[in-house]
Amino acid sequence: MPRIYRAVGCVLLLAAAVACDGPDNTPKAPAPAPDAKKVDAGTAATLRGKVVLEGTPPANAVLKMASDPACSAAHTGDVLAETFVVNNGALQNVFVYIRDGLGNKHLYDAATEIVKLDQKGCRYTPHVVGLRVAQPLEVSNSDSTLHNVHALPDTNREFNTAQPIQGFKNTVTFTAPEVMIPFKCDVHNWMSAYVGVLDHPYFAVTGGGGTFELRTIPPGTYTIEAWHEKLGRQEQSVTLGEKDSKDITFTFKVQ
């Protein structure tokens, strides 16, 4: 057999080997300890708070949707990115969660409620969302154009799914905690969303008032983190006693 055929054959075999899926080695969430117990609602604490922005936020970029008539037709006037959504200093779209302190001594009810992430007007809605490990995330396409749902995790498995027609839905789950997983659409490069995945229920995304609330937290000392897509991360240590109710404030600053 001529050498060239052998070389081409080797390349094709190698390509086939690479293309085949290997064993599932995606990371898993840590298992609870054998003596882990459900959180006692009678002694649990509540943590409320607000995220504020000091300074004048940078102007949000105007999204250029001209490359797809279906996208530009869905809007009248300029469409702005959702990077800095600020209302009287209150910062929206901040993911707040307990980062450390829970350990593996608590059991939580399985999260079966479907979390929804829609593509509407060629934007992901909501822009920031949180869910639990193994909780279903339904990503849908409400637009009369095609999208691809491309998740870019570091520890979970990356995926890129086609949604060619309006009404198309895909349900995905994540196997390991990860804050945050960026989502994009490669067809429309302005589309972005961020998904926070945790192995416990203590997380929230700030709304229009910049506020958040974490309920039914077992007493203890925790590190609370606030994440923003451009302003980065901040953390605070909080000690919660039985039936405590505390308020904290995260302050991000811009020049």
């Binding site: 094709l12 390509a15 996208c71 154009t145 799914t161 086609a162 490069n189």
Partner: protein
């Protein structure tokens, strides 16, 4: 052979167009805008409605269609060469090019299905240049000027410097592809300095790749100037050498300028792609010069053309360049 040569040049031009389309895919970050392969959002690639060529799909899908066209053209080239070309090694080159374009298509599909792993994407970029080199070679050796050469150049120094230059240009392109597919194009955000210094004061993998590409550019510049200088000094009457040498210097200056503007424009997709395509042209031109410097070595492989051997002054048919 003349028509085969013209056709081979057409394939070279189409390959440049294909490299342009591929460059735009990476420059606009559209590599995954069509998540499936070989289908396009479930459609047969050739029936995907034009109305759906929106956003990044325009770049990725047109790249796939142009690639299919070049694949078809290469099949024709291989068969045509096989049927009319008397030199066995040239016939084999045709099928080597066909094998390369098939593997290239599969690599392109695999890199999409595996979500653009840098190693596969860099392999795709590197093989693209090798395929381009094959088409340039076929076009060069089917040229009448190649076949009917009277006194081919005999210059061992030129051969050495031309081979080293071509090899280093290809290496430089591979470093550039590594930089592109690892998002290191702006790892050093200023030019000509690096973070305000000659040598970057802080290092990581991306800075190292980016800086290697800049150092590579310097080395390639010196080698191209050395090659061209040698040609103009020793072979100034040999048009088949001075022409590619001249174009090589022109393309080099354009390439360095484009490289600077890639950084200054913060990776404008059009400038970025122009840099990629011009890099391929630098490689192709250097390869042409190298092949011509080796032409005498192929003489014994050329079939005798009886009607042109009657007298030395009638060896070259009218209108044929050497």
């Amino acid at each position: 052979v003349t028509w085969l040569h013209r056709y081979a040049k057409f394939v070279v031009a189409c390959t440049v167009l294909l490299i342009t389309a591929g460059g735009m895919v990476t420059s606009t970050d559209s590599g995954l805008s069509v998540p499936d392969w070989p289908t396009t959002y479930g459609w047969n690639m050739f029936t995907f409605p034009f109305s759906k060529w929106v956003g990044g799909i325009r770049y990725e899908h047109s790249h796939r269609l142009i690639a299919s066209a070049v694949g078809f053209l290469t099949i024709v080239l291989a068969i045509w060469t096989w049927r009319v070309e008397p030199r066995r090694w040239v016939r084999r080159l045709g099928f080597l090019a066909l094998g390369a374009v098939i593997v290239q298509g599969i690599l392109g599909g695999i890199t999409v299905l595996l979500l653009l792993p840098p190693a596969v994407s860099i392999g795709h970029a590197g093989l693209a240049q090798l395929f381009f080199c094959l088409t340039v070679t076929i076009a060069a050796v089917t040229a009448p000027g190649w076949r009917y050469a009277v006194h081919p150049v005999e210059d061992a120094t030129l051969r050495k410097v031309a081979v080293v230059t071509t090899a280093l240009i290809y290496t430089q392109i591979l470093i550039g592809a590594t930089m592109r597919h690892n998002d290191a194009g702006l790892a050093i955000p200023d030019f000509p300095l690096a973070f305000g210094h000659v040598i970057p004061p802080a290092w990581n993998a991306k800075v190292a790749i980016h800086f290697a590409h800049r150092v590579g550019a310097l080395v390639v510049t010196v080698l191209i100037l050395a090659t061209a200088g040698h040609v103009f000094y020793h072979h100034r009457r040999r048009q088949e050498l001075t022409r590619p040498a001249f174009f090589l210097v022109m393309l080099l200056s354009m390439q360095v300028t484009l490289g600077a503007f890639v950084v200054w424009s913060t990776m404008d997709p059009v400038i970025n792609t122009a840099h990629v395509v011009n890099g391929a042209l630098v490689l192709g031109t250097s390869l042409l010069l190298t092949l011509r410097s080796f032409r005498s070595g192929f003489e014994r492989l050329v079939q005798p053309i009886h009607q042109f051997t009657a007298s030395p002054d009638r060896q070259i048919p009218r209108g044929v360049r050497t």
